[in-house]
């Protein structure tokens, strides 16, 4: 894989395939309702970066936000100096400065890019802001089996930290959008009867998981976090925790005007939805309210068979226990991995080529969407059940449960591991792996 990082005084459009400019932006999420935030190229979501697997690309980034910024290329196998996390060694981009990133995209699939800065108590910075965009790495041989595709980003705006039942504070939001618009304000997804439509959906929320359903239609899940699943399956709804992606096929076989939206009523009420409109059909969009929340990663695992007990075949296990420390009813909890908060967390040494199993033990009262940079891992055990075949880079470990994943340490250098909830990450839920 070729890669390069170069800090430039200015960007020459002719030398880069894509350019991103980070700058303040006012987003109209519904008529005359504006969110003042920071965005890429004056749009939310940022521009779709469509890259080709194995074909080098150069992306220029200019920062006019007024603060130091950094762009993380989420889900790509990149060297630590350009992956987009300062903890790994990627330099930040000072305000009114530029940087250029050249790399060979891999792996193929639906990825995304976003800011990777600290927000703390400023609930308009970091992942609370509008700095997110789609990144699609086209496979070398594209088996496009669909007629039309849409990219959808779920996001929440206007965070407040309020007291929660666990005695700490957690974020609640004023509004929620799909592609920066509340339900009924943005352009509908225009489809035709008989089409097979592909939806690439990413949850870009700083802290909030989302449940999505499309009235009148089933959603056939074909990829999780951009990686094809062993057992595609049609489901009535999706669950996406922060940073997760799901690719679904939809058979457009039920003409009408429908709503694709958040299943939970109070989130739908704050705007999370988009209209799906068949050609030649008009009328009020129809929503069919599901009565429960249904989701299980294991639905999409390799077909059932007797699995060997986990932990065999020269796999080194690394237990990681997640706990919180109470800092007061008016404060966010301090988060710890194996009893320590970042930067005091242990940097675990990995041997290149060795297979590792991470054992996540979530002993806290919160769910954690944990993300491993620069790698894809395989889900091997969830809530006591062995499994195979699900490849991800972000996994929701529910409160009080355990999960196990495996990966091969084949990328030298530092790799960041953290909870993708901005408030958890800010409060110490991070650690590093050092592969050599």
């Amino acid at each position: 894989m070729a890669s390069a990082l170069e800090t430039l005084p200015a960007i020459s459009e002719t030398t880069s395939d894509y350019s991103l400019t980070i700058a303040p932006y006012s987003l109209e999420i519904s008529p005359r309702r504006f969110i003042k935030t920071v965005a890429y190229n004056g749009q939310i979501p940022g521009p779709l970066l469509r890259l080709k697997e194995g074909v080098p690309v150069t992306i220029a980034v200019t920062n006019h936000s007024g603060d130091d910024e950094i762009v993380h290329w989420h889900g790509l196998f990149l060297p630590p100096e350009i992956d987009g996390a300062m903890e790994e060694g990627t330099p930040h981009i000072a305000s009114d400065s530029s940087a250029s990133y050249t790399f060979t995209p891999a792996p193929a699939g639906f990825r995304w890019y976003h800011t990777h800065t600290f927000a703390g108590r400023d609930l308009r910075k970091g992942l609370y802001s509008g700095q997110y965009g789609f990144l699609m790495v086209e496979p070398r041989d594209n088996p496009a089996r669909y007629d039309q595709e849409f990219f959808l980003a779920l996001h929440d705006w206007g965070a407040s930290m309020v007291a929660s039942d666990d005695g700490s504070v957690s974020a609640v939001y004023d509004s929620s959008t799909i592609n920066g618009k509340t339900l009924g304000f943005g352009e509908p997804l225009r489809v035709k009867q008989g089409q097979r439509v592909m939806l690439h959906i990413v949850n870009t929320s700083a802290t909030e998981p989302h449940w999505l359903a499309m009235a009148g239609h089933q959603l056939r899940v074909i990829a999780l976090d951009g990686n094809p699943v062993p057992a595609p399956r049609a489901v009535s709804m999706l669950r996406l925790s922060p940073a997760e992606r799901i690719c679904v096929e939809v058979e457009m076989n039920n003409p009408g005007v429908w709503v694709l939206g958040e299943v939970r009523k109070h989130i739908m009420a704050t705007g999370m939805g988009i209209v799906v409109e068949y050609g030649g059909r008009t009328g009020k969009p129809v929503w069919q309210q599901p009565q429960s929340l249904d989701w299980d990663y294991l639905w999409f695992a390799s077909p059932a068979r007797q699995e060997k007990p986990s932990g065999s075949l020269n796999v080194t296990t690394i237990p990681l226990t997640f706990e919180s420390k109470f800092l007061g009813h008016g404060a966010m909890d301090r988060w710890m991995i194996n009893g320590r908060s970042f930067p005091e967390t242990e940097t675990v040494a990995l041997r290149e080529g060795q297979r590792y199993r991470l054992i996540f033990r979530n002993k806290s009262m919160d769910d954690h969407p944990v993300h491993l940079h620069r790698h894809t891992f395989e889900l091997r055990r969830l809530a006591g059940k062995e499994t195979r075949g699900i490849l991800k880079d972000t996994l929701l470990v529910s409160a009080g449960t355990e999960a196990e994943v495996e990966f091969t340490a084949d990328r030298p250098g530092l790799s960041l591991f953290h909870c993708h909830q901005q408030d958890h990450m800010d409060m110490g839920f991070m650690m590093l792996f050092q592969c050599s």
């Binding site: 206007g158 407040s160 309020v162 007291a163 039942d165 005695g167 700490s168 609640v172 004023d174 299943v263 939970r264 009523k265 109070h266 309210q289 599901p290 009565q291 429960s292 929340l293 109470f326 800092l327 007061g328 009813h329 008016g330 404060a331």
Partner: protein, 269 residues
């Protein structure tokens, strides 16, 4: 926006009523509590029992009321959440005392509104108004009205709240006394996730523009603890000392509250 406008109208209405209609009242030790700004959630009811015992209070009075010494006051408070920013509370006051048995004292009603989270104010703010009747054997002022602004803030382990309440009497000897000032305040510290401790202050200075002499004011400090054992339960215990002649010298208080959720609460709500 419609909710914000509705809330502003309510706040303005309460403020207007406070200016034009408030009358002073003497307050008994039936509900000893510094209010926080949060309100009970919709489709939820909070049932609280306030138990206040006066080991050392007045042994005789000259205004026709019973002495407070060794009185046990049991107050049932039922608060119903209306929406995400308002609630209404009802009170049933009783007094238990040797020689008098169990006596009904009176009832109050207390609507309350708060500034919603979506306004992103740096402190919690709410406003309650309380109107009600109490029998003359327990309070010379029988019909009273109170308006209570509430401001609170949690900072890390610390909690601060102030309730600069204004009171007015509708019927009783203090009817012509104008507006009375009865502030309360609280400072708390979270020792653990479940155990907090601190101090609560309750005062009654008399008329707003002409405070009573110190010995006629009510001034009390309580050492309190709050036990946050469950989101469903509210537990507060304290012991209070009165520092003026007009204040009961020692009071023990306990608040035991239980939250009940009504209707169907499913995961999709």
């Amino acid at each position: 926006m419609r909710n914000q406008r509705k809330l502003l109208y309510l706040l303005a209405l309460f403020a207007l009523l406070g200016v034009t209609e408030l009358r002073a009242r003497a307050q008994g030790n039936y509900e000893i509590q510094v209010y926080g700004s949060d309100t009970v959630a919709p489709k939820s009811t909070m049932v609280e029992l306030h138990s206040n015992f006066t080991p050392e209070g007045s042994k005789k009075t000259d205004d026709g009321t019973y002495p407070t010494n060794h009185q046990l006051h049991e107050t049932l408070e039922i608060t119903q959440g209306i929406n995400s920013w308002s609630e209404v509370g009802f009170y049933l006051f009783t007094s238990w005392q040797d020689g008098h048995g169990v006596q009904w004292v009176g009832d109050h009603i207390r609507p309350r509104v708060r500034v919603p989270d979506s306004w992103h104010w740096p402190v919690g703010v709410s406003l309650s108004t309380e109107v009600g009747y109490q029998r003359s054997q327990y309070s010379p002022d029988t019909w009273t009205w109170e308006i209570r602004p509430i401001v609170d803030k949690s900072i890390g382990r610390w909690y601060f709240a102030v309730n600069p309440a204004l009171e007015r009497t509708w019927h009783g000897p203090d009817t012509n006394q104008g507006v009375g000032f009865a502030p309360a305040a609280k400072i708390g510290y979270d020792f653990t996730r479940k155990v907090s401790g601190g101090f609560e202050y309750y005062g009654n200075f008399g008329r707003v523009w002409s405070f009573s002499a110190l010995h006629d004011q009510q001034q009390q400090i309580f050492a309190v603890t709050d036990l946050n054992v469950s989101p469903k339960w509210e537990l507060n215990f304290g012991v209070g000392l009165g520092s003026t002649a007009a204040t009961d010298h020692v009071i023990l208080k306990a608040i035991v509250g239980r939250r009940f959720n009504w209707g169907k609460h499913s995961t999709i709500d």
